[in-house]
């Protein structure tokens, strides 16, 4: 059984069909990238999977259980977490606090025990702090724990966002344009981070525009155009796929007939 299954998912906004009958699966341990020209419906698809939007048709299954229609926090509780492009982190908190907050789903206490600061809560918090430090170090953010998130440079912000997603200990992580705005050096580091995530046993689905990174890192690539899935397969196949090339470049004869 596939870890993540998208079955005939569509999403309509009034007259616009942003996602049109898209189906694909993601197996455990894969790195799958979703690409497509601007407006192809990639971010809408992400929002549908993570529960920020409801599909108008179709089903989404995680480990064989339906998650479409569930709210984001419930989906996170089942093991699927996403990162964001804009609000990547909690800006006013330190990097450490950010990652500690992300341990939320792993907390055992209730609000009351938290208020009373019982020994159980306190030792759990200490464990989470240690765990957070370890994740930060793994992502190259050691030494920046007490830095206010909004003071961090762009590349580190994205790494912090990923650190927070990992702190949840998810099965699948959805990365929203993890390589955006990076130079080649930062991209290389980010590629290593994403590979490290997979090595840690977390399946990765990402949306991205940086073709170089996508080709380097993906096991499989899903291509969307105008909300429809037009191709799917390993990087070599996608690079030579006619429909994909057309989608990105436009068709010469189409222009001639206008």
């Amino acid at each position: 059984m596939s870890l993540l299954a998208i079955e005939g998912v569509s999403r309509r906004f009034g007259g616009l069909l942003a996602v049109n009958d898209v189906s694909f699966t993601v197996e455990a341990g894969e790195i799958v990238s979703v690409i497509g020209p601007n407006g192809a419906g990639k971010s809408t698809l992400f929002k549908l999977i993570a529960g920020f939007l409801r599909p108008t048709a179709g089903r989404i299954l995680l480990d064989g259980n339906r998650i479409d229609g569930l709210r984001p926090h419930a989906i996170a509780a089942r093991g699927l977490v996403r990162t964001f492009q804009e609000t990547t982190v909690f800006r006013e908190m330190s990097a450490l606090e950010n990652v500690v907050v992300a341990h939320h789903l792993r907390r055992r206490g209730s609000i009351l025990t938290e208020l009373l600061a019982t020994p159980g809560v306190r030792s759990e918090q200490a464990n989470f702090v240690a765990d957070a430090r370890e994740i930060l170090a793994r992502l190259g953010l050691a030494g920046l724990e007490d830095e206010r998130a909004r003071n961090l440079p762009h590349g580190h912000l994205r790494a912090l966002g990923i650190a927070m997603a990992l702190a949840v200990r998810p099965r699948v992580v959805l990365l929203d344009e993890p390589f955006a705005g990076m130079n080649s050096e930062e991209t290389a580091r980010a590629v290593e981070i994403v590979r490290g995530i997979r090595a840690g046993g977390v399946t990765v689905v990402l949306v991205e525009h940086d073709m170089g990174a996508v080709m380097r890192i993906s096991d499989r690539i899903i291509v969307l155009n105008f909300g429809t899935l037009i191709a799917s397969g390993p990087p070599e196949a996608i690079q030579q796929d006619e429909t994909v090339i057309d989608a990105y470049l436009g068709r010469a004869d189409e222009i001639a007939t206008l």
């Binding site: 709210r71 984001p72 926090h73 977490v81 609000t87 927070m164």
Partner: protein
């Protein structure tokens, strides 16, 4: 180091409130009443502070104070219920209303939430005005019996001071606990929080309900001490004042609303000599605060420290 400083500060404050003030002002009914008022308003403001921490501008605290006051008033005058029972009931009723109303409206943010909570204060006022014989309408409810054990200004003051201290501890514990970190995360990114598994709706409601419970308690105490309540006892102005105290003191820590409330209440009384200009100066003061101390009075030490550092550093790098 900072936590030790804060605990020491709290201990000092508690000592002043519970020991020094009674010693100095034992016979001064007027000033004891002023400090009682300040303490209870500070308590209500701590609630509003909690809603600020989840990123909501809450202009409804007056409504809950009104609800709390009327519960005590009606139970006390008509059913002979002891204050010590009607106080927790007032808190429960306020929290129940907050749950009912808060659930749908907490989806809203910014000015929209502000406007709808402002409307709630009006609704409460108008509802009690038009409540027929149940709420006694415009004439309000008077001759609310004083609570047993609390007959003197001093005992009333001590009860209020104690309530405030409890409120500070509760708010402080919230802020320092993981739940408090969740609250702060909501203010900075609700979607991000949800994607990390945080049940945003539940936590928002928790903050609002606790806040409203505190408002209800403050209103209940006031009603018992002033021994009356009217539909106009809490208006939009009062709801705004709660917000003001938080802002003036600063939103970063629980000390803010307390400092803000005490400062403004006491200053207001001191300005009483300049009766005519009292409220006018109030408005001027607020504007000045926004212009020069946007992060509140509690940010003053930081600002001064930063300035000293800048001056001490000498040449720019």
């Amino acid at each position: 180091m900072r936590r030790v400083g804060a605990s020491a500060g709290f201990a000092l404050f508690a000592a002043v409130m519970l020991l020094v003030v009674p010693l100095l002002l034992a016979g001064q009914g007027y000033w004891l009443t002023v400090l009682t008022t300040a303490a209870l308003l500070a308590f209500g403001s701590l609630g509003v502070w909690l809603t600020f921490s989840i990123g909501r501008i809450n202009i409804a605290q007056g409504a809950f104070a009104l609800i709390g006051g009327y519960v005590v008033a009606i139970l006390g005058t008509r059913y002979d219920v002891s204050f010590w029972l009607s106080l927790p009931l007032a808190v429960l009723v306020a929290m129940a209303v907050a749950t009912l109303v808060g659930w749908p409206i907490l989806r809203l943010r910014g000015v929209y939430f502000a406007m709808i909570t402002l409307s709630l204060t009006e609704v409460a006022s108008l509802a009690f005005l038009n409540g027929g014989s149940f709420t006694a309408g415009a004439s309000g409810i008077t001759s609310i019996p004083r609570p047993t054990l609390l007959s003197s200004s001093l005992s009333i003051y001590l009860a209020s001071a104690l309530l405030l201290l409890i409120g500070i501890v509760v708010a402080w514990r919230f802020a320092a606990s993981p739940a408090g970190a969740v609250f702060r995360s909501l203010r900075q990114g609700e979607d991000l929080a949800a994607s990390l598994g945080i049940n945003v709706a539940h936590y928002r409601l928790l903050a609002f309900v606790v806040s409203s419970g505190m408002g209800g308690a403050a209103g209940a105490m006031f009603a018992a001490f002033q021994q009356n309540i009217f539909p106009t006892s809490y208006t939009v102005n009062d709801s705004v004042n709660f917000m003001l105290y938080c802002f003036l003191g600063g939103l970063q820590s629980v000390a803010g609303p307390v400092v803000g409330a005490f400062l403004l209440v006491i200053a207001f009384q001191l300005l009483g000599a300049i009766q005519r200009f009292q409220a006018l100066l109030y408005g001027v003061f607020m504007i000045a605060a926004m212009l020069f101390l946007p992060n509140g009075l509690m940010s003053l030490p930081q600002i001064l420290a930063a300035r000293r550092e800048r001056d001490g550093a000498g040449q720019p790098r």
